[in-house]
Amino acid sequence: MTYAGLAAVVVAGALVVALVVARVRRLGPRWWAATAVAAVVLMVLTVVFDSLMIAADLFRYDDAALLGVRVWLTPVEDLAWPVVAALLLPALWVLAGDDDRGEADA
């Protein structure tokens, strides 16, 4: 398994959760728009802060396990983190609620 393979599995899992929750709780375009904007914002922040953290030597990668594509210092696989966060967490929030109004504020 590569890091990209692991990332793909987690992204797929998060996507399934988001799609199922969106279907069951009838989440509409507002929901998906918020998710898309959140994903983009989180990806930009990931590139900036992941690169700073790598530059600061907080963690090190095994280059052999990476695709080798980097955005600044960030391995492209790390962008799966913000994607999973944006897909999974808001879906879990709705899932944890007991109402059907995913579009509602709160």
Partner: protein, 134 residues
């Protein structure tokens, strides 16, 4: 090894500062842990944190990445999983949920046909007792 030099606490201190900022935004907007149902927010934060820590554990076990040498306390939750990563992951989850909540709220205020008129600066997390009470 735990080296007690001030640089060992830089990353942890930055993370705690970031978490404190999340708490302020959360409280001001009553979004998650300060929402009408804080237990629901805490449960989602906990599950999200476990998912990302699990991702870390698998990646570390597979040798994809490992702990670096700088600016950390040296305390590990598991081999190569620094204490700091727990705080980072909580921050990531909290930030994501606040951001998504604020975006939903902003788009709701822009939508025509609501009883409430759109307000200037809708992105700001302005507490609004009339809405939060519902």
């Amino acid at each position: 090894m735990i080296a007690l030099h001030w640089t060992s606490f830089v990353y942890l201190a930055l993370l705690l500062g970031a978490l404190a900022s999340m708490a302020l935004v959360d409280r001001r907007g009553r979004l998650l842990l300060w929402s009408a149902r804080p237990g629901r927010g805490a449960a989602v934060l906990t599950v999200g944190t476990l998912v990302f820590l699990g991702w870390d554990l698998v990646a570390i076990a597979e040798g994809f990445y490992s702990r670096g040498g700088a600016a950390m306390t040296g305390v590990e939750l598991a081999p190569h999983l620094p204490l700091e990563e727990l705080f980072f992951v909580v921050f990531l989850c909290w930030f994501t949920l606040l951001l998504h909540g604020l975006l939903r709220r902003a788009s709701g205020r822009r939508r025509p046909g609501r009883k409430e008129p759109a307000r200037r600066g809708a992105l700001r997390a302005v507490p609004d007792p009339a809405r939060e009470a519902r």
